[in-house]
Amino acid sequence: MKREKIAHIFITAFSAIIAVVFLIPLVWMIGVAFSEPSFQMTFLPKTKFTLDNFKYVWKAVPFARYYANTLTVVLVTFVIQFFTSTLAGYALAVMDFKGKGLVFVIIFMQLIIPNDALIIPNFLTLSKLGVIDTKLAIILPFLGSALAIFLLRQHFKSVPKALFEAAMLDGANTWQVIWKVYSPCAKPAYMSFAVISVSYHWNNYLWPLIVTNAPSNRTLTVGLAIFAKSKEANMQWANVCAATFIIILPLLIAFFIMQKQFIESFVGAGVK
């Protein structure tokens, strides 16, 4: 019994040390972002607290513009996905029709093959459509979401048939059944998918980089990458850390507040 208690304390201490190791890059970054630039890199800041790095970065990089762009991309993508996936999820969960198997094949294709593997043909398609260097180009490939359809279908399937029949008896049409009966029952699935969709598009880099050129269409990640690789930023880790902090702050806060929701959503998306 005593041996087990000692083991327990030992393991707890060990797990806390590992946690601190995991936190080092974040703590270091925040420390640097709020201290005066120096040429000696130390783990804990040695100069006094300052907001100068943020002032400099906010002026040097059009972050307000990038924020607005990222928010537009993230929100528009999610709202349209919400709409298209609800309709498709309902059809697959509730209705009987010819060719259902084919639809599932298409869904599995998208679950297996990420957009990143299809950058060349998708770029060529968007060039033909003449939308390169617009926010629309960032959004278009993601508007039909296999993952969202799949999550919603699972949820819709568990909605009791009695609810559906009661609505039908009341004279509701399909449209009303979808939005008044099924959709409200799937709040956890929407929540789950919202976390995945928003963090994916907030973090996505390669695709927005490929399809945008003008600063007026760049997202936060592309803006940060350009700044971090620019000549002014070389050796200026205080500024880059401040810029990084600006970009990750909203997601980090959301994660700290809703850690369980985040973890569940990420895992749900992985399991499919």
Binding site: I11, F14, S15, A16, I18, A19, F22, P25, L26, W28, M29, Q40, M41, T84, S85, L87, A88, Y90, A91, F97, G99, V103, I106, M109, I112, I113, D116, L118, I119, I120, N122, T125, P141, F142, L143, G144, A146, S199, W202, N203, Y205, L206, L209, I210, T221, L224, A225, A228, K229, W237, V240, T244, I247, I248, F255, F262, E264, F266, V267, G270
Partner: protein
Amino acid sequence: MSNRKKSSLGRSIKNNIKAWALLAPSLIFMLGFTVYPIFKTFYLSLTKYKMGMKAPEFTGFDNFIKLAQTPLFWKVIGNTAFWALLTAIPSMIVGLGLAILINRKTKLLSFLRVSYFYPVVLPMIAVASIWSFIYMANNGLVDQTLIKLGLEPLLALSKKDTVLPALAGMYVWKEAGYLMVFFLSGLQAISPEVMEAAKIDGSRGLHLFRHITFPLLGPTFLFVSSVEFTNCFKLVDHVMIMTEGAPNNASTLLLYYIYQQGFTNFNYGTSSALSVIMLVTLLIVSIPRFFRQDKKVHYN
């Protein structure tokens, strides 16, 4: 009788139209940006197609033959295979370790979970920006620490033998928390009766882990390795920020090579041939996931 049959046939046709109408908004985008580009990649891989050309020219397997004769291609394949092993296996080991650490009753649980998982949420671009200073030659956090300890600086990102392991170290830090959650649900799915019985039989600690826990985690391992081998191919943001393939292409990974061929050299044919290799690889590594369709993992 025939009237009723007719009306039910009519209803069925109406039903079919309705279902496809509901699917149409999603399907248009999925066909246009997933199905069509998959076929187009295969087609373009058999053509000569560069920017400025009016249309692709069919050349059979020329792109693949040319690639096979290019030393850089084999280097990239080698790098990518090495990268997969360097990231997937350590991520799984660390992920399992973290899962064991939080699968206990402790007051620190919430703190531990947040600390282990938060890197998953961060954009790779942000992570790479921070870590490029951590790994920076001479002035970086790692090298400064080594110099203070009286050791040689590592210059991790500028040497061909250390660049991929260094990037992999960062990747494991970012990914382990994600895999941890799958292992945690695997651990929690093992029935307490089995563990009790093993303990009554005198199995403890490492012995218990090796002979009971580890074998029972088999399906979780299969699933997680599939997830991880898929993930490690489809991200190159860190290469673009930290090394751009340097030194001497020692850190050029497949997707980065695809990007370079397509968007630096504007050689869409070659780039598509490389994409075909990536598509086939993704297809193969995702097979194990389908064996788990019926068994849902739930995190509590």
